[in-house]
Amino acid sequence: MRKISITKYLAYFFLVTSCVVWVFPVLFGFFTSFKAQGDIMTVGFSMLPANWVIQNYISVLTNTSSAPIVQWFLNSLVISGSHTFLVVLIVSLAAFGYTRIDFKGKETLFFTILALSMFPAVVNIIPSYKIVEALGWVNSPLAVIVPGLGGVGNVFLVRQFMLGIPKEFDESARMDGASDFTIYFKIILPLVKPVLIVTGLFSFIGSWNDFLWPTIVLNDVNKLTITAGLQLLQDLYGGYAMTGELMASAIIAMIPTVLLFLFAQKYFIESMNLNAGVKG
């Protein structure tokens, strides 16, 4: 008994200290979004605003002519939502292919594309634009939804999890005459659901927070995504001139990803039972 409580207190101590450190900047940013510019620039530190103002939020939200935030929000939801759905579909199919179907050179193929995908993408923006342009996607949400689907990192992750599922599983189903698709859909997918949720969450956030590519391929201000849009309202590397507004816009833009995280978190804590599922 004593041993357990020592570990428990150790765990608590570690968690609480690191949480305080981690949460401090978040709260600081949050409270700053309710400070007036003069308050932010006052020498001497105070965590809470001297006067709570919502001016920063009002000025970000009411700039409807050059910054239709509600529209951007909807655009982002559609774009990040579709992107996430397609990622989960394509990635799980590919991971199944690389782990469950035997074909010559599959490991070589997989690790080759993984290595190739690790080259930093710098001037790639030019050929990527040319391709998107040739497909007629410029200024269409497709230009933001589709190109990211070729990423290999997610396939790697899901593949790692699928490798952990014993072969006996699908082999017994195959003896019963099940097709590859049935095995994929009815056996493997439910088992890797938690990791797919993680993948989906990461994809959604990645797509939500991307700003360079959307500003390159989307011209119409009404078609922009929220992160790219809000980037316009603030100088990318601006100084302290609009700190309060920058914080306010960052917090507005965070709402969906935070909600999604809170929703998804329930899943991967409760249902992440890969090995247990295998045993059942």
């Binding site: 530190f45 995908s117 391709i131 070729g150 990423g151 990192g153 992750l157 999890f161 952990g164």
Partner: protein, 306 residues
């Protein structure tokens, strides 16, 4: 090497089937990879053998860019490659181990059955990763602002943090970790909660302590996710760009000027683009990343085979 052996064993076991059904599964991803990753990457590699201002057609110069970068000691580009690579490697060396260890420790601590508010703890570690980088940088600059920030006001100090080493690196590394550990934490949490409870129970019966259980049960069981996060965190750390740009702008004395900053400055800087040289630099950076990943793969595979 090991993986190829595996492959041979597998293919022999299964007999050769000339079926194309794998393409039904890997096909969609492969096509998208070819169009949106491979072709642009090949174009980028091609550009590294050219002189190119992004507007006109690239002009083939053979190995000239690489010669300059690697051997011309008097060249600015050679200096940038050396300095940028040194700084990037330092960043990778400082962040990656912590980016693995901190979330792993948190994940293990959260596994303790007696710990309450697990979701709250997890959310606190994850939320920094949801804040846009520009807003995050402003927060950190304010925190370490010599006059306005909490750090100096609480310490009653007048230190200017960003212009001295090792402080400049410490802040960049810490800010990066602050935003980056959430992802790995989630992967570890999912992996650890998937480890069968039976294993721990039988270990309890054997009288194993928590440390012993961690090393002989938890760690081996989450080998693959761990491997994934090591590889991905490393590759990600090599691409570090926004944090040093916004926190120190490369200073003091270019000691935090990382590779991606040089590369982007050359390709999309204030003057005419020097995209050929920038591509050559990114190809070299890519080769470093791939070699390190391959090295990691080999080490991991060896270890996993005991």
């Amino acid at each position: 090497m090991q993986s190829e052996n595996l492959l041979v064993v597998e293919t022999e076991k299964k007999k050769k089937r000339k079926s194309m059904k794998q393409f039904a599964f890997i096909g969609p991803h492969l096509v998208l990879f070819l169009i949106f990753i491979l072709i642009p990457t090949i174009y980028g590699i091609y550009a590294s053998f050219t002189q190119w201002n992004l507007i006109g057609e690239p002009e083939w110069v053979g190995l000239s860019n690489f010669k300059t970068l690697l051997f011309d000691k008097s060249s600015t580009f050679h200096f940038q490659l050396r300095n940028g690579l040194k700084n990037t490697l330092l960043f990778v060396g400082l962040t990656v181990p912590l980016q693995i260890l901190i979330p792993l420790t948190v994940a293990v601590a959260l596994e303790n059955k007696k710990v309450k508010f697990k979701s709250l703890f997890q959310a606190i570690f994850y939320i920094p990763g949801l804040i846009s980088v520009s807003a995050a940088a402003i927060i950190w600059l304010l925190i370490f602002n010599p006059r306005l920030g909490p750090v100096n006001n609480l310490l009653s100090s007048a230190t200017v943090w960003m212009v001295n080493q090792p402080n400049a690196w410490a802040i960049i590394v810490f800010m990066s970790l602050w935003g980056a550990i959430g992802g790995n934490l989630i992967i570890y949490r999912s992996a650890i909660s998937g480890v069968s409870a039976d294993l721990y129970e039988s270990a309890d019966i054997d009288g194993a302590g928590p440390v012993r259980k961690f090393f002989s049960i938890t760690l081996p069981s989450i080998r693959f996710p761990l491997f994934y996060t090591v590889v991905m965190s490393t590759a990600g750390a090599f691409n570090v760009y926004a944090q040093p740009l916004m926190i120190t702008n490369g200073g003091p004395e270019q000691s935090t000027h990382v590779m991606m900053m040089y590369i982007r400055q050359l390709a999309f800087g204030t003057g005419e683009s020097v995209a050929g040289m920038a591509s050559a630099m990114s190809v070299l950076l890519g080769l470093v990343i791939v070699s390190i990943s391959v090295f990691q793969f080999i080490v991991m595979y060896r270890n996993s085979k005991g």
